[in-house]
Amino acid sequence: MNIDIKHIAKLARLHIEDDQLEKFESEMQNIVDMVEKMPDIEDEMTLDPSNPMRLREDKAVQDKFTRQELMQNAPQVKAGCLVVPKTVE
C-alpha cells in the first residue's frame, strides 16, 4: 500500500521536510505491516455494559481561573487577548 505521507502530514498540521519523507514513509510502512497482521473479527461495536458513564449535570460551574491565569502561558497576548495571524483578508 502507498502511504501518502504528505497528505497525512497536512491533515495532522505537520510539516515534513522533503529529505525526511522517505524515512517517515518506510517507518510508517513497517508499522502498518505489523498492524495488518491483525485477524479479522466479525463483530459489532457495543458499549461496555459494565461501565456505564455518569454524566455531570448540565450546569455552569463556577470559574476556577482568572483570565490572567489562563493567558499566562500564551506565546503572544495583547490587551487581554490572544494574538494570532490575520485569518480573514
Binding site: M28, I31, V35, P39, A74
Partner: protein
C-alpha cells in the same frame, strides 16, 4: 544507613515519633541529588526551596501535635506530565518548554493534603511516548545500575530517581507499560492501577482511554502507601470510577496460601530472554512454596495486543495533541506565513520525531477509508483481549509474567528502529488494553548486576491482592538492592 536510603514506611514512623524531622530528611535527599544527579539525570526541574518550606511546615504541624498522613514529610518526585501549579510541567517536550500550569492535577491536590514534600519534576520520553527516556527533548536519563544503559520509559526519571535514592517515592504514568517497564529495568516496585481508580485530571493526555497515574517505590509497602493517597473518585475525570478504596498499606498481608496463580504460555515465548524467563518462573515457584497454586493458562490474542495498542494509542494521541497549536500555550515558531503555516511550523519545530510519528500514524488510522480496517478492528480486538483476561480471572486470582523481555539495553541501541523499541512493551500493553491493575517487582539480577522484574496482573480493582502477593514475595526473597553509583 543514610536517611535518603530508607523506605517511606520507616521514615514515616521516624518522622511521626520525632526521631528525625522532615527537614533533615529533605536535606538528606537533596544532598543525594547533588551527589549523583550528574550521573543519572533523572530530574528536569528541582524545587528545593518549596520542598524545604513544605518540610518545615510538616515539622511545625507535628510539633503542634497534629495527626498527619503516613506520607507527611516524605520527599516525592513527580513525572513531568503531571500538572503542578506554579511549577514548570514540560512533558520533556520543546512544545511545553516554558509551560507553568495554573492548576494542580487532582493527584497533586491529594498529595498536598497528605503533606507530601515535592522534590521536583522527573524526566520522561516526550509526551510519554517511548520506552527508554531517550525521547526527552532535554536529555536522556541513565540507569543507576549501569549509567551506559537506559532506565526504561516513559517514566524513566521516576524509576531512576527512586533507584538512585534521589527521591523516596515517585509518581509516574502508564499508558502501555510506562511505570512497570522502567521499574523493572531499575529494580524498583511500580504499580499501574486499574483504569479509573486514580484521577487523570491534570495528567497531560497521551491516550485517554489507556493512561493511568501510579506510584513507584523501593518496597511494596511504600507503593501501597502512595496508592492509598492518590486513589479515589474525582468529578473532574469523567472516566473516574465511583468506588471507595481501603488503606492498602495498613491491610497488607503476606499470606498467599490458596492464591491461584496463572502463568500464560504466550508471555514466555522466543522473544523473552532465557534468564528473564527462568527468573520469573523461579519467583512463581517461591510463591508456590508459600502455599499458592500454579496453573498454566493461555491468552491467545496476546500476539495482536501490540498492534491494537499502537492503533488505539496513536489515534487518541493524534487527537489529544491537536491542542498544541502555538496559540494558547507552549512553543510558537518565530517565522511563519499566515495561521495554518504558524500551526504547521510550531508543531513541526515543537514536537520530536517519535511524537510526530505517532500523530501521523494516528491521523492515518482515523483518516477516511481506513477507519474500519484499523481503528475499528483494534477496538474489537481490545474487547477480545479483555474477555480473555476476564475468562481467566474466573479461574485464577493473579497472572504472573515477565515485565519486560530483557534487562536494560544500552543507550542508543534501539533508537533507529521504532519497532524494536515498541517490542519492549510486549508484556505490558495488554494490561492497559484490558484496563487492569498490574505491579512489577524486582525478582532477580543478571550476571551484569542488572535487575529483572516480575509482573503480577490482577482483575479490575484487585490492587490489594496484587500488593499482598508482591509483599509476600518481597518478604521471602527480598526486593530492591541499592546500585553502586
Amino acid at each position: 544507613m543514610e536517611l535518603f536510603e530508607r523506605n517511606a514506611c520507616d521514615l514515616s514512623e521516624m518522622i511521626k515519633s520525632r526521631k528525625i524531622s522532615s527537614k533533615e530528611l529533605t536535606e538528606s535527599v537533596f544532598g543525594r541529588i547533588k551527589a549523583v544527579e550528574g550521573k543519572v539525570d533523572a530530574y528536569l526541574t528541582l524545587d528545593k526551596e518549596n520542598a524545604l518550606k513544605k518540610a518545615e511546615e510538616v515539622d511545625a504541624k507535628i510539633a503542634a501535635g497534629e495527626e498527619l498522613s503516613p506520607l507527611a514529610g516524605i520527599p516525592m518526585g513527580i513525572k513531568d506530565n503531571i500538572s503542578t501549579k506554579g511549577l514548570k510541567t514540560t512533558c520533556a517536550s520543546k512544545m511545553l518548554y516554558n509551560y507553568v500550569p495554573p492548576f494542580n492535577a487532582t493527584v497533586m491536590n491529594k498529595l498536598e493534603s497528605n503533606d507530601v514534600v515535592v522534590t521536583g519534576k522527573l524526566n520522561m520520553d516526550e509526551f510519554a511516548m517511548g520506552s527508554s527516556t531517550e525521547n526527552s527533548h532535554f536529555k536522556p536519563t541513565r540507569n543507576p545500575f549501569d549509567t551506559d544503559r537506559i532506565p526504561g520509559g516513559s517514566s524513566g526519571g521516576s524509576a531512576a530517581a527512586v533507584a538512585a535514592c534521589e527521591a523516596i517515592v515517585s509518581l509516574g504514568s502508564d499508558t502501555g507499560g510506562s511505570i512497570r517497564q522502567p521499574a523493572s529495568y531499575c529494580g524498583v516496585v511500580g504499580l499501574k492501577p486499574t483504569y479509573g481508580s486514580v484521577s487523570r485530571y491534570g495528567l497531560v493526555a497521551f491516550a485517554s482511554s489507556l493512561d493511568q497515574i501510579g506510584p513507584l517505590g523501593r518496597c511494596v509497602k511504600d507503593v501501597a502507601m502512595v496508592q492509598s493517597a492518590i486513589a479515589g473518585h474525582d468529578r473532574y475525570d469523567a472516566t473516574s470510577a465511583y468506588r471507595e478504596y481501603p488503606d492498602f498499606s495498613a491491610a497488607l498481608n503476606a499470606d498467599v496460601k490458596g492464591l491461584k496463580i496463572g502463568v500464560p504460555k504466550e508471555y514466555f515465548g522466543d522473544g523473552i530472554d532465557p534468564f528473564v524467563k527462568q527468573s520469573v518462573m523461579n519467583a512463581v515457584k517461591e510463591l508456590e512454596r508459600l502455599g499458592a497454586t500454579v496453573k498454566e493458562i493461555s491468552l491467545p490474542s496476546t500476539d495482536y495486543a501490540l498492534s491494537s495498542y499502537y492503533i488505539i494509542s496513536s489515534a487518541e494521541a493524534s487527537s489529544n495533541l491537536a491542542r498544541f497549536d502555538g496559540v494558547r500555550y507552549g512553543f510558537r515558531a518565530e517565522d511563519y506565513d499566515g495561521l495554518v503555516d504558524m500551526y504547521e511550523r510550531s508543531r513541526s519545530e515543537g514536537f520530536g520525531d517519535e511524537v510526530k510519528r505517532r500523530i501521523m500514524l494516528g491521523t492515518f488510522v482515523l483518516s477516511s477509508g481506513f477507519y474500519d480496517a484499523y481503528y475499528k478492528k483494534a477496538k474489537l480486538l481490545q474487547r477480545r483481549i479483555q474477555q480473555e483476561f476476564s475468562d481467566q480471572f474466573a479461574d485464577v486470582d493473579i497472572i504472573a509474567t515477565p515485565t519486560v523481555p530483557t534487562t536494560a539495553f544500552k543507550i542508543g541501541q534501539n533508537t533507529d528502529d521504532p519497532l524494536k523499541m515498541y517490542a519492549t512493551d510486549i508484556c505490558t500493553v495488554t494490561v492497559n488494553i484490558a484496563g487492569l491493575p498490574a505491579i512489577s517487582i524486582p525478582c532477580a539480577y543478571d550476571d551484569k548486576g542488572l535487575p529483572v522484574g516480575i509482573q503480577l496482573i490482577g482483575g479490575k480493582f484487585t490492587e490489594q491482592r496484587l500488593l499482598n502477593s508482591a509483599y509476600a514475595f518481597e518478604q521471602l526473597v527480598g526486593g530492591f538492592k541499592k546500585p553502586q553509583l
